[in-house]
């Protein structure tokens, strides 16, 4: 059975490796600051006893005052999972670092988030809209998108 790496355990290890990045944690997930996300993700992938080699999914949730990026990570080698979250602020063009250099599986998912939720990823090789056409007004999965 896939084991869920407890948020507290992961948070303590992340604090040791990247002091000051962990914001808070819960039983099931850890909130981190997005600044050093790429380094942090590479560390999560390459630390032998964590070995999060498979990025299950990236989701973005619009909480009006901020956007939350949710990374569901899986380790195929150890059969365990973890959830890492990061908050990004601003509604004009909020940005987060791209993790494509760590997991190529993030490529299309980050483009989808930019297209539909309007969170841009810095360092992405091809940050263009994916479902909608260039020039579409707004980002339709945001809570304040009215359509029309």
């Amino acid at each position: 059975m896939t084991r869920l790496v407890a948020g507290g355990d992961l948070a303590h290890r992340l604090q040791d490796a990247f002091p000051g990045t962990v914001e808070s944690w819960d039983d099931a997930w850890v909130w981190v600051q997005p600044g050093r996300l790429v380094e942090l993700c590479r560390w999560l992938r390459e630390t032998p006893d964590l070995a999060f080699d498979f990025l299950s999914s990236i989701s973005a949730v619009d909480y009006i005052e901020h956007f939350e990026l949710v990374y569901h990570l899986t380790s195929i080698r150890h059969n365990h999972r973890a959830v890492v979250k990061a908050r990004v602020y601003g509604r004009e063009r909020p940005t987060a670092p791209s993790v494509v250099s760590v997991w190529r599986g993030a490529n299309l998912q980050e483009r989808e988030i930019w297209d539909l939720m309007g969170v841009a990823f810095e360092g992405h090789p091809n940050m263009k809209r994916i479902m909608l056409w260039e020039g579409f007004p707004g980002h339709p999965h945001r809570k304040d998108h009215l359509g029309g």
Binding site: S57, V61, H72, V83, R104, G105, L108, L116, I130
Partner: protein, 376 residues
């Protein structure tokens, strides 16, 4: 080549040609567009263009209550509606802390495994169609899929857009005449699979067109979040039914067929073997299922507590999961769909470059995508 030929080819100017394949093209399995740059017949570059079937399912889900969203999930991967239903209701049940009764879980597993057979039949039939085996294998595969759709019709009255599952179980118990029909189908299916394998597995043309084509390494596949039969064809024994057994899969004995080379042929072969395993799982379910309720009492207007849930399942095409966020209201605050068809296309460009136009349709067919799920 004599001297004059060499001179002529030195002066003949060649340039790469960019053409559009799709959105209306029979081998794109829906409305998908590939902007391909060719050097003669050789693929130099590929740019996939998405979105022709984008309906904003995730946003629509925010406007409907939890029960109504089930009908939206049918229309994602419309050749495996049952599995979509299952992934969605499992996330809802996690959110609400509900357990479906055992008989309901067995019925869901039966439906999901039959759906896996149906989806793999479609994948195989169309792959062979793309290979140039016009109509015959496809018609054979459709013939058996029809039987599965008949069984679904007995379960819930619908053949494609089933909406059979509910939060807390299934919509209704199977009718009495379902079981003899299922038993007859399971008795006959292995013979049909033998028939396909006799036609295809050691077929000279299939072997020469599919062996060694579009080889994917296990590390690349994992790093690109590729899941399902395409991942298992590379030799990685990763299946959520084994790794994180949901419902009653922990009571089922089945093997995990894995490929060796990670090429088109292995993807085909893995799907063939998985169909045999699915027949076995449904047979075990039939032997183990006990009478009892099929549905826990959950209000139709279901209000889960504040929280979030992500329960991935092994859909025919890979890891399918619904990331649901609840704010305590009657509809999801956010419903993000982790669609295997979409994410399996991550390496499409790398998988196609260097192959010929005729291989392009075969490689694309071997990934087995469904546009309803890619574009959502």
């Amino acid at each position: 080549m004599d001297r004059s030929d060499q001179e002529r080819s030195a002066t003949l100017r060649t340039e790469p040609v960019t053409i559009n394949m799709g959105p209306q093209h029979p081998s794109t399995h829906g409305v998908f567009r590939l902007r391909v740059t060719f050097d003669g017949e050789m693929v130099l570059d590929v740019e996939p263009v998405f979105g022709y079937l984008h309906r904003g399912t995730e946003k629509l889900a925010e406007e409907r209550n939890y029960t109504q969203v089930i009908t939206l999930t049918d229309r994602l991967d419309y050749v495996s509606s049952m599995t979509n239903n299952q992934a969605y209701v499992l996330s809802c049940e996690k959110l609400g802390g509900i357990d479906a009764p055992e008989r309901g879980q067995y019925l869901r597993v039966i439906a999901a495994e039959l759906q896996r057979i149906a989806s793999h039949l479609v994948a195989t039939g169309f792959l062979l169609q793309d290979l140039g085996a016009f109509a015959t294998p496809l018609m054979y595969c459709m013939r058996e899929r029809e039987r599965i759709l008949d069984l679904f019709e007995m379960l819930c009255g619908a053949r494609i857009t089933n909406s059979y599952m509910r939060v807390g179980g299934v919509f209704q118990d199977a009718p009495d005449d379902f079981w003899p029909a299922l038993r007859r189908f399971l008795g006959e299916m292995p013979r049909f699979i033998d028939e396909y394998e006799a036609l295809l597995t050691s077929n000279e043309i299939v072997l020469s067109r599919a062996r060694g084509v579009s080889v994917l390494s296990p590390d690349d596949a994992i790093n690109a979040s590729i899941s399902g039969p395409v991942l298992r064809a590379t030799g990685v024994a990763w299946d959520l039914r084994k790794a994180a057994p949901y419902e009653v899969y922990d009571r089922m004995a089945f093997d995990l067929p894995v490929g060796k080379a990670g090429d088109v042929y292995d993807r085909y072969w893995v799907r063939m073997q998985e169909m045999r395993q699915s027949v076995g799982i449904v047979q075990q379910c039939m032997a183990q299922i006990q009478p009892g309720p099929v549905r826990t009492r959950v209000p139709l207007i279901f209000r889960p507590p504040v929280g979030e849930a992500y329960v991935p399942v092994e859909a025919p095409k890979g890891e399918l999961g619904f990331y649901l966020v609840s704010d305590g209201g009657i509809s999801p605050y956010r419903c993000k769909i982790r669609a295997p068809s979409f994410i399996n296309l991550t390496l499409l460009r790398e998988m196609l470059i260097g192959y010929k136009l005729a291989d392009l349709v075969v490689i694309f067919g071997s990934i087995d995508i469904n546009m309803g799920e890619v574009d959502r």
